[in-house]
Protein backbone atom coordinates (compact mmCIF):
# COMPACT_ATOMS: atom_id res chain seq x y z
CA UNK A 1 0.00 0.00 0.00
CA UNK A 2 1.35 3.39 -0.91
CA UNK A 3 0.91 6.32 1.42
CA UNK A 4 -0.71 9.55 0.34
CA UNK A 5 1.87 12.33 -0.02
CA UNK A 6 2.95 14.31 3.00
CA UNK A 7 5.85 16.54 3.91
CA UNK A 8 8.44 14.96 6.16
CA UNK A 9 10.36 16.99 8.75
CA UNK A 10 13.31 15.68 10.69
CA UNK A 11 14.31 18.16 13.41
CA UNK A 12 17.53 17.63 15.35
CA UNK A 13 16.64 19.27 18.66
CA UNK A 14 13.67 19.43 21.00
CA UNK A 15 13.41 23.22 20.58
CA UNK A 16 13.25 22.89 16.81
CA UNK A 17 10.65 20.14 17.17
CA UNK A 18 8.37 22.21 19.37
CA UNK A 19 8.78 25.27 17.11
CA UNK A 20 7.89 23.19 14.07
CA UNK A 21 4.86 21.80 15.90
CA UNK A 22 3.73 25.36 16.57
CA UNK A 23 4.15 26.36 12.92
CA UNK A 24 2.25 23.31 11.68
CA UNK A 25 -0.47 23.47 14.35
CA UNK A 26 -3.18 20.90 13.72
CA UNK A 27 -1.67 19.79 10.42
CA UNK A 28 0.90 17.24 11.55
CA UNK A 29 1.53 14.00 13.37
CA UNK A 30 4.65 13.08 15.26
CA UNK A 31 6.36 9.96 13.91
CA UNK A 32 8.17 7.82 16.49
CA UNK A 33 8.61 4.12 15.61
CA UNK A 34 5.82 4.26 13.03
CA UNK A 35 4.39 0.87 13.92
CA UNK A 36 1.02 2.35 14.89
CA UNK A 37 0.88 5.52 12.80
CA UNK A 38 1.90 4.06 9.44
CA UNK A 39 -0.65 1.19 9.44
CA UNK A 40 -3.28 3.80 10.28
CA UNK A 41 -2.06 6.01 7.45
CA UNK A 42 -2.23 3.05 5.10
CA UNK A 43 -5.89 2.71 6.13
CA UNK A 44 -6.42 6.45 5.51
CA UNK A 45 -7.18 7.09 9.17
CA UNK A 46 -6.92 10.78 10.07
CA UNK A 47 -4.14 11.69 7.63
CA UNK A 48 -2.19 14.91 8.17
CA UNK A 49 -0.18 16.77 5.51
CA UNK A 50 3.01 16.86 7.63
CA UNK A 51 4.95 14.29 9.63
CA UNK A 52 7.57 15.31 12.18
CA UNK A 53 10.01 12.41 12.55
CA UNK A 54 11.54 12.28 16.03
CA UNK A 55 14.42 9.90 15.39
CA UNK A 56 17.06 12.63 15.41
CA UNK A 57 15.99 14.47 18.56
CA UNK A 58 18.64 13.69 21.18
CA UNK A 59 16.56 14.94 24.15
CA UNK A 60 14.11 12.09 23.55
CA UNK A 61 16.80 9.45 24.04
CA UNK A 62 18.46 7.97 27.09
CA UNK A 63 17.55 5.17 29.45
CA UNK A 64 18.23 4.75 33.17
CA UNK A 65 16.33 3.51 36.20
CA UNK A 66 15.17 7.11 36.75
CA UNK A 67 14.29 8.17 33.23
CA UNK A 68 13.14 6.51 30.03
CA UNK A 69 13.44 8.73 26.96
CA UNK A 70 10.31 8.74 24.80
CA UNK A 71 12.23 7.52 21.74
CA UNK A 72 13.84 4.59 23.53
CA UNK A 73 12.95 1.47 21.62
CA UNK A 74 10.98 -1.28 23.32
CA UNK A 75 13.44 -3.92 22.10
CA UNK A 76 16.26 -2.14 23.96
CA UNK A 77 14.22 -1.91 27.16
CA UNK A 78 13.47 -5.60 26.82
CA UNK A 79 17.18 -6.43 26.69
CA UNK A 80 18.01 -4.36 29.78
CA UNK A 81 18.49 -6.68 32.79
CA UNK A 82 18.72 -3.78 35.27
CA UNK A 83 15.33 -2.53 34.18
CA UNK A 84 13.78 -5.99 34.59
CA UNK A 85 15.28 -6.39 38.03
CA UNK A 86 14.01 -3.01 39.20
CA UNK A 87 10.60 -2.99 37.51
CA UNK A 88 9.43 -6.55 36.76
CA UNK A 89 5.84 -5.54 35.95
CA UNK A 90 7.02 -2.96 33.44
CA UNK A 91 9.40 -5.50 31.93
CA UNK A 92 6.49 -7.97 31.55
CA UNK A 93 4.51 -5.34 29.68
CA UNK A 94 7.38 -4.27 27.42
CA UNK A 95 8.14 -7.84 26.38
CA UNK A 96 4.47 -8.46 25.56
CA UNK A 97 3.93 -5.53 23.21
CA UNK A 98 3.12 -7.00 19.79
CA UNK A 99 6.07 -8.94 18.30
CA UNK A 100 9.88 -8.65 18.46
CA UNK A 101 9.78 -6.99 15.03
CA UNK A 102 7.31 -4.35 16.19
CA UNK A 103 9.30 -3.82 19.39
CA UNK A 104 12.46 -3.32 17.31
CA UNK A 105 10.93 -0.07 16.04
CA UNK A 106 8.25 0.71 18.63
CA UNK A 107 9.08 3.26 21.31
CA UNK A 108 8.15 4.17 24.87
CA UNK A 109 6.40 7.39 23.85
CA UNK A 110 4.68 5.71 20.94
CA UNK A 111 3.22 3.04 23.18
CA UNK A 112 2.02 5.60 25.73
CA UNK A 113 0.27 7.53 22.96
CA UNK A 114 -0.82 4.60 20.82
CA UNK A 115 -4.06 5.36 18.96
CA UNK A 116 -7.16 3.95 20.62
CA UNK A 117 -8.63 0.97 18.78
CA UNK A 118 -12.07 -0.16 17.72
CA UNK A 119 -13.25 -2.56 15.07
CA UNK A 120 -15.27 0.21 13.45
CA UNK A 121 -12.12 2.36 13.24
CA UNK A 122 -9.24 0.01 12.37
CA UNK A 123 -10.63 -0.78 8.95
CA UNK A 124 -9.97 0.26 5.37
CA UNK A 125 -11.49 3.44 3.96
CA UNK A 126 -13.80 1.35 1.77
CA UNK A 127 -15.03 -0.68 4.75
CA UNK A 128 -15.64 2.42 6.85
CA UNK A 129 -17.34 4.25 3.97
CA UNK A 130 -19.93 1.48 3.73
CA UNK A 131 -21.10 2.37 7.25
CA UNK A 132 -20.92 6.12 6.79
CA UNK A 133 -17.71 6.36 8.85
CA UNK A 134 -17.55 6.99 12.60
CA UNK A 135 -16.98 9.67 15.19
CA UNK A 136 -13.29 8.87 15.38
CA UNK A 137 -12.54 9.34 11.68
CA UNK A 138 -14.43 11.06 8.87
CA UNK A 139 -17.88 10.66 10.48
CA UNK A 140 -20.04 11.92 13.31
CA UNK A 141 -21.54 8.92 15.06
CA UNK A 142 -20.43 5.96 17.10
CA UNK A 143 -21.49 2.49 15.96
CA UNK A 144 -20.54 0.78 19.22
CA UNK A 145 -22.74 2.82 21.52
CA UNK A 146 -25.00 4.60 19.03
CA UNK A 147 -24.84 8.36 19.72
CA UNK A 148 -22.78 11.31 18.52
CA UNK A 149 -21.01 12.62 21.60
CA UNK A 150 -18.50 10.07 22.79
CA UNK A 151 -15.98 7.70 21.21
CA UNK A 152 -15.66 4.32 22.92
CA UNK A 153 -12.48 3.10 21.21
CA UNK A 154 -10.23 1.11 23.52
CA UNK A 155 -6.97 2.31 25.02
CA UNK A 156 -4.54 -0.35 23.85
CA UNK A 157 -1.10 0.57 25.16
CA UNK A 158 0.67 -1.92 27.39
CA UNK A 159 3.16 0.37 29.13
CA UNK A 160 0.71 2.82 30.71
CA UNK A 161 -0.83 0.48 33.34
CA UNK A 162 2.48 -0.69 34.87
CA UNK A 163 3.93 2.83 34.75
CA UNK A 164 0.82 4.27 36.40
CA UNK A 165 1.04 1.58 39.08
CA UNK A 166 4.63 2.72 39.72
CA UNK A 167 3.48 6.37 40.11
CA UNK A 168 5.59 7.33 37.09
CA UNK A 169 5.60 10.91 35.87
CA UNK A 170 5.73 12.12 32.33
CA UNK A 171 7.90 14.98 31.12
CA UNK A 172 6.20 17.10 28.48
CA UNK A 173 7.59 19.85 26.24
CA UNK A 174 5.59 22.51 24.47
CA UNK A 175 5.66 26.13 23.35
CA UNK A 176 5.49 27.22 27.01
CA UNK A 177 8.45 25.13 28.12
CA UNK A 178 8.62 21.84 29.94
CA UNK A 179 6.37 20.42 32.62
CA UNK A 180 6.07 17.19 34.58
CA UNK A 181 2.80 15.57 35.61
CA UNK A 182 1.80 12.16 36.91
CA UNK A 183 1.35 9.83 33.95
CA UNK A 184 -2.16 9.05 35.17
CA UNK A 185 -3.01 12.76 34.84
CA UNK A 186 -1.97 12.72 31.18
CA UNK A 187 -4.87 10.36 30.50
CA UNK A 188 -7.37 12.29 32.64
CA UNK A 189 -8.71 14.00 29.54
CA UNK A 190 -12.36 14.59 30.25
CA UNK A 191 -13.79 11.46 28.78
CA UNK A 192 -15.21 12.14 25.30
CA UNK A 193 -12.81 9.51 23.94
CA UNK A 194 -11.71 11.75 21.07
CA UNK A 195 -9.44 13.82 23.28
CA UNK A 196 -7.13 11.03 24.42
CA UNK A 197 -4.76 12.95 26.66
CA UNK A 198 -4.40 16.27 28.46
CA UNK A 199 -1.49 17.20 26.17
CA UNK A 200 -2.03 20.62 24.62
CA UNK A 201 -1.85 20.78 20.82
CA UNK A 202 1.76 20.40 19.72
CA UNK A 203 3.00 19.24 23.11
CA UNK A 204 5.31 16.25 23.05
CA UNK A 205 6.17 13.54 25.56
CA UNK A 206 9.90 13.81 26.25
CA UNK A 207 10.44 11.09 28.82
CA UNK A 208 8.97 9.01 31.61
CA UNK A 209 10.38 9.53 35.09
CA UNK A 210 10.38 6.69 37.60
CA UNK A 211 10.41 7.68 41.29
CA UNK A 212 13.06 5.99 43.42
CA UNK A 213 10.26 4.53 45.58
CA UNK A 214 9.12 2.54 42.55
CA UNK A 215 12.36 0.57 42.40
CA UNK A 216 12.19 -2.95 43.73
CA UNK A 217 8.44 -3.05 44.26
CA UNK A 218 6.72 -6.36 43.73
CA UNK A 219 4.98 -5.87 40.41
CA UNK A 220 3.31 -7.79 37.63
CA UNK A 221 1.47 -7.14 34.39
CA UNK A 222 -1.04 -9.67 33.09
CA UNK A 223 -2.30 -9.31 29.56
CA UNK A 224 -5.35 -10.90 27.99
CA UNK A 225 -5.24 -11.17 24.20
CA UNK A 226 -6.28 -13.51 21.44
CA UNK A 227 -2.88 -14.46 20.01
CA UNK A 228 -0.22 -14.35 22.74
CA UNK A 229 2.52 -13.64 20.22
CA UNK A 230 1.03 -10.57 18.64
CA UNK A 231 -2.19 -8.90 19.67
CA UNK A 232 -3.09 -5.68 21.38
CA UNK A 233 -4.45 -6.14 24.90
CA UNK A 234 -8.09 -7.04 25.36
CA UNK A 235 -7.29 -6.34 28.99
CA UNK A 236 -4.08 -5.44 30.81
CA UNK A 237 -3.80 -5.50 34.60
CA UNK A 238 -0.78 -4.03 36.39
CA UNK A 239 -0.10 -4.25 40.11
CA UNK A 240 2.80 -2.82 42.11
CA UNK A 241 3.29 -2.87 45.83
CA UNK A 242 5.53 -3.36 48.79
CA UNK A 243 5.09 -5.95 51.50
CA UNK A 244 7.12 -8.64 53.25
CA UNK A 245 6.06 -12.25 52.76
CA UNK A 246 2.99 -12.68 54.95
CA UNK A 247 3.41 -9.14 56.29
CA UNK A 248 1.40 -5.96 56.11
CA UNK A 249 1.00 -4.12 52.84
CA UNK A 250 2.90 -0.84 52.89
CA UNK A 251 1.81 0.25 49.46
CA UNK A 252 -0.38 -1.13 46.69
CA UNK A 253 -1.38 0.26 43.30
CA UNK A 254 -3.40 -1.27 40.53
CA UNK A 255 -4.02 0.04 37.01
CA UNK A 256 -5.94 -1.35 34.08
CA UNK A 257 -5.69 -0.80 30.34
CA UNK A 258 -7.16 -2.45 27.27
CA UNK A 259 -10.65 -2.45 28.73
CA UNK A 260 -11.95 1.09 28.35
CA UNK A 261 -11.11 4.30 26.52
CA UNK A 262 -8.58 5.44 29.10
CA UNK A 263 -6.23 3.52 31.40
CA UNK A 264 -7.49 3.67 34.93
CA UNK A 265 -6.15 3.32 38.46
CA UNK A 266 -8.03 2.22 41.56
CA UNK A 267 -6.27 3.97 44.43
CA UNK A 268 -9.31 4.09 46.70
CA UNK A 269 -9.67 0.32 46.53
CA UNK A 270 -5.99 -0.53 46.83
CA UNK A 271 -5.18 1.95 49.59
CA UNK A 272 -7.93 0.33 51.68
CA UNK A 273 -5.71 -2.77 51.72
CA UNK A 274 -2.64 -0.92 52.94
CA UNK A 275 -1.81 -1.61 56.57
CA UNK A 276 -3.34 -5.09 56.48
CA UNK A 277 -2.07 -8.40 55.23
CA UNK A 278 -2.71 -9.50 51.68
CA UNK A 279 -4.98 -12.43 52.52
CA UNK A 280 -6.68 -14.53 49.86
CA UNK A 281 -9.97 -13.12 51.02
CA UNK A 282 -8.85 -9.50 50.65
CA UNK A 283 -7.35 -10.19 47.23
CA UNK A 284 -10.60 -11.78 46.12
CA UNK A 285 -12.64 -8.84 47.40
CA UNK A 286 -10.35 -6.35 45.63
CA UNK A 287 -10.57 -8.32 42.40
CA UNK A 288 -14.37 -8.37 42.56
CA UNK A 289 -14.58 -4.67 43.39
CA UNK A 290 -12.34 -3.73 40.44
CA UNK A 291 -14.31 -6.04 38.17
CA UNK A 292 -17.53 -4.30 39.17
CA UNK A 293 -16.21 -0.95 37.98
CA UNK A 294 -14.73 -1.82 34.60
CA UNK A 295 -17.10 -1.48 31.66
CA UNK A 296 -15.75 -2.85 28.39
CA UNK A 297 -17.88 -2.31 25.29
CA UNK A 298 -18.25 -4.46 22.20
CA UNK A 299 -15.48 -3.02 20.03
CA UNK A 300 -12.64 -5.53 20.20
CA UNK A 301 -12.39 -9.22 19.34
CA UNK A 302 -13.48 -10.72 22.67
CA UNK A 303 -16.98 -10.08 23.96
CA UNK A 304 -17.36 -7.37 26.62
CA UNK A 305 -18.99 -9.64 29.17
CA UNK A 306 -16.06 -12.04 28.94
CA UNK A 307 -13.49 -9.23 29.18
CA UNK A 308 -15.30 -7.82 32.17
CA UNK A 309 -15.39 -11.17 33.95
CA UNK A 310 -11.71 -11.61 33.21
CA UNK A 311 -10.87 -8.41 35.10
CA UNK A 312 -11.28 -10.09 38.48
CA UNK A 313 -9.43 -13.19 37.27
CA UNK A 314 -6.47 -11.16 35.98
CA UNK A 315 -6.33 -9.01 39.11
CA UNK A 316 -6.13 -12.20 41.18
CA UNK A 317 -3.46 -13.69 38.93
CA UNK A 318 -1.38 -10.51 38.89
CA UNK A 319 -1.48 -10.29 42.68
CA UNK A 320 -0.79 -14.01 43.11
CA UNK A 321 2.32 -13.70 40.94
CA UNK A 322 3.41 -10.52 42.67
CA UNK A 323 3.03 -12.30 46.01
CA UNK A 324 5.04 -15.28 44.78
CA UNK A 325 7.76 -13.13 43.22
CA UNK A 326 10.51 -11.73 45.37
CA UNK A 327 10.74 -8.03 45.87
CA UNK A 328 13.42 -6.78 43.45
Amino acid sequence: MHLDPFELHRPTSLDATVRLAGDLAGRFDYLAGGTDLLPNYKMHLNLRPHLIALDRVPELRGRSLERLGAMERLADLERDPALRAAFPGLADAVSEVATPLVRASGTVGGNLLVETRCFFFNQSYFWRASLGFCLKADGDRCHVVPQKERCYATFSGDLAPPLIALDAEVEIAGADGRRRIPLAAMYDAGGDGIRRTTLAPGEIVVAVHLPSAARGLRSRYKKLRVRPSYDFPELGVAVAGRWEDGGRVERLRLAIGGAETYPRRFDDLTSALEGGTLSDERVRALAEAVGERVRPVHNTFLLPDYRRRMVAVYVRRALAEARAGRAG
Partner: protein
Protein backbone atom coordinates in the same frame (compact mmCIF):
# COMPACT_ATOMS: atom_id res chain seq x y z
CA UNK B 1 12.48 18.95 1.93
CA UNK B 2 11.72 18.85 -1.76
CA UNK B 3 9.98 15.73 -2.95
CA UNK B 4 12.72 15.25 -5.54
CA UNK B 5 15.37 14.78 -2.87
CA UNK B 6 17.81 11.94 -3.35
CA UNK B 7 18.16 9.23 -0.74
CA UNK B 8 21.54 7.60 -0.09
CA UNK B 9 22.15 4.48 1.94
CA UNK B 10 24.03 1.20 1.68
CA UNK B 11 22.10 -1.77 0.38
CA UNK B 12 23.76 -5.13 0.90
CA UNK B 13 27.14 -3.47 1.16
CA UNK B 14 26.78 -1.31 -1.94
CA UNK B 15 26.13 2.44 -1.88
CA UNK B 16 22.77 3.36 -3.42
CA UNK B 17 21.45 6.80 -4.35
CA UNK B 18 17.90 7.03 -5.57
CA UNK B 19 15.10 9.61 -5.84
CA UNK B 20 12.69 9.10 -2.98
CA UNK B 21 9.51 10.90 -2.03
CA UNK B 22 8.80 11.53 1.66
CA UNK B 23 5.86 9.12 1.73
CA UNK B 24 7.82 6.26 0.14
CA UNK B 25 7.79 3.11 2.26
CA UNK B 26 11.10 1.20 2.38
CA UNK B 27 9.47 -2.02 1.16
CA UNK B 28 8.06 -0.27 -1.91
CA UNK B 29 11.39 1.41 -2.60
CA UNK B 30 13.23 -1.92 -2.44
CA UNK B 31 10.79 -3.87 -4.56
CA UNK B 32 9.54 -1.28 -7.05
CA UNK B 33 12.36 1.24 -7.45
CA UNK B 34 15.42 -0.91 -6.81
CA UNK B 35 13.85 -4.15 -8.09
CA UNK B 36 15.15 -6.18 -5.17
CA UNK B 37 12.12 -8.42 -4.92
CA UNK B 38 13.46 -10.96 -2.44
CA UNK B 39 11.85 -8.90 0.30
CA UNK B 40 8.20 -9.97 0.27
CA UNK B 41 5.02 -7.99 0.76
CA UNK B 42 2.68 -9.97 3.00
CA UNK B 43 0.16 -8.14 5.14
CA UNK B 44 1.74 -4.71 4.56
CA UNK B 45 0.65 -3.75 8.10
CA UNK B 46 3.42 -5.16 10.30
CA UNK B 47 1.69 -8.38 11.31
CA UNK B 48 3.41 -11.08 9.27
CA UNK B 49 7.13 -10.32 9.13
CA UNK B 50 7.52 -11.29 5.44
CA UNK B 51 9.06 -7.89 4.69
CA UNK B 52 11.78 -8.17 7.35
CA UNK B 53 15.11 -6.57 6.46
CA UNK B 54 18.10 -5.75 8.64
CA UNK B 55 18.50 -2.07 9.34
CA UNK B 56 22.00 -1.51 10.71
CA UNK B 57 21.89 -5.18 11.67
CA UNK B 58 18.53 -5.14 13.43
CA UNK B 59 15.50 -6.96 12.08
CA UNK B 60 13.03 -4.32 10.92
CA UNK B 61 9.63 -4.35 9.24
CA UNK B 62 10.30 -2.63 5.92
CA UNK B 63 6.55 -2.22 5.33
CA UNK B 64 6.37 0.12 8.34
CA UNK B 65 9.58 2.05 7.66
CA UNK B 66 9.75 5.34 5.82
CA UNK B 67 12.50 5.01 3.24
CA UNK B 68 13.77 8.54 3.88
CA UNK B 69 14.66 7.60 7.44
CA UNK B 70 17.24 5.01 6.31
CA UNK B 71 19.43 7.82 4.95
CA UNK B 72 23.02 6.84 5.75
CA UNK B 73 22.04 3.43 7.13
CA UNK B 74 23.01 -0.10 6.09
CA UNK B 75 20.08 -2.15 4.81
CA UNK B 76 20.50 -5.90 4.36
CA UNK B 77 17.91 -7.87 2.42
CA UNK B 78 17.79 -11.57 1.63
CA UNK B 79 19.85 -10.81 -1.49
CA UNK B 80 22.66 -9.68 0.82
CA UNK B 81 22.60 -12.69 3.13
CA UNK B 82 24.04 -15.25 0.74
CA UNK B 83 27.78 -15.30 0.23
CA UNK B 84 28.99 -14.94 -3.39
CA UNK B 85 29.09 -18.73 -3.66
CA UNK B 86 26.50 -20.99 -2.09
CA UNK B 87 24.27 -20.30 0.88
CA UNK B 88 24.62 -18.73 4.30
CA UNK B 89 24.63 -21.16 7.26
CA UNK B 90 21.00 -20.27 8.08
CA UNK B 91 19.94 -20.74 4.46
CA UNK B 92 21.77 -24.07 4.24
CA UNK B 93 20.06 -25.25 7.41
CA UNK B 94 16.63 -24.22 6.05
CA UNK B 95 17.30 -26.33 2.95
CA UNK B 96 18.62 -29.30 4.91
CA UNK B 97 15.65 -29.33 7.28
CA UNK B 98 12.97 -28.67 4.67
CA UNK B 99 12.04 -25.53 6.55
CA UNK B 100 10.32 -24.01 3.55
CA UNK B 101 7.18 -24.94 1.72
CA UNK B 102 5.83 -22.19 -0.51
CA UNK B 103 8.85 -20.07 0.45
CA UNK B 104 7.07 -16.75 0.68
CA UNK B 105 7.85 -16.18 4.36
CA UNK B 106 11.37 -17.62 4.12
CA UNK B 107 13.34 -14.42 3.45
CA UNK B 108 11.86 -12.85 6.55
CA UNK B 109 12.61 -15.89 8.68
CA UNK B 110 16.18 -16.12 7.36
CA UNK B 111 16.85 -12.47 8.21
CA UNK B 112 15.30 -12.74 11.67
CA UNK B 113 17.29 -15.90 12.35
CA UNK B 114 20.51 -14.39 11.01
CA UNK B 115 20.15 -11.42 13.36
CA UNK B 116 19.25 -13.68 16.28
CA UNK B 117 22.37 -15.83 15.85
CA UNK B 118 24.56 -12.78 15.56
CA UNK B 119 23.21 -11.39 18.85
CA UNK B 120 22.88 -14.74 20.60
CA UNK B 121 24.99 -17.47 18.91
CA UNK B 122 23.61 -20.26 21.12
CA UNK B 123 19.92 -19.59 21.67
CA UNK B 124 17.72 -22.01 23.57
CA UNK B 125 14.69 -23.42 21.80
CA UNK B 126 12.54 -21.00 23.75
CA UNK B 127 14.67 -18.06 22.64
CA UNK B 128 14.37 -19.19 19.02
CA UNK B 129 10.58 -19.47 19.32
CA UNK B 130 10.38 -16.05 20.87
CA UNK B 131 12.68 -14.45 18.28
CA UNK B 132 10.60 -15.70 15.33
CA UNK B 133 7.24 -14.93 16.93
CA UNK B 134 6.78 -11.93 14.63
CA UNK B 135 7.28 -13.99 11.48
CA UNK B 136 4.26 -15.94 10.30
CA UNK B 137 4.37 -19.10 8.18
CA UNK B 138 1.04 -20.33 6.84
CA UNK B 139 2.32 -23.56 5.24
CA UNK B 140 4.65 -25.69 7.29
CA UNK B 141 4.06 -24.87 10.88
CA UNK B 142 7.16 -23.91 12.72
CA UNK B 143 8.83 -27.12 13.84
CA UNK B 144 11.20 -27.44 10.90
CA UNK B 145 12.00 -23.74 10.97
CA UNK B 146 12.93 -23.97 14.65
CA UNK B 147 15.00 -27.10 13.99
CA UNK B 148 16.81 -25.39 11.14
CA UNK B 149 17.72 -22.35 13.23
CA UNK B 150 18.82 -24.62 16.07
CA UNK B 151 21.00 -26.62 13.66
CA UNK B 152 22.55 -23.45 12.22
CA UNK B 153 23.34 -22.33 15.78
CA UNK B 154 25.10 -25.66 16.37
CA UNK B 155 27.25 -25.06 13.33
CA UNK B 156 25.76 -27.64 10.98
CA UNK B 157 23.15 -27.49 8.26
Amino acid sequence: MSSQELLSFRLNGQPVTTPCEPARILLDLLREDLEETGTKRGCDLGTCGCCTVLLDGRPTLSCLSLARLVEGCEVTTIEGVSPPQGLSPVQAAFVAHGATQCGFCTPGFVLTATALLKENPHPSREEIVRAISGNLCRCTGYTKIIEAIDAAARGGP
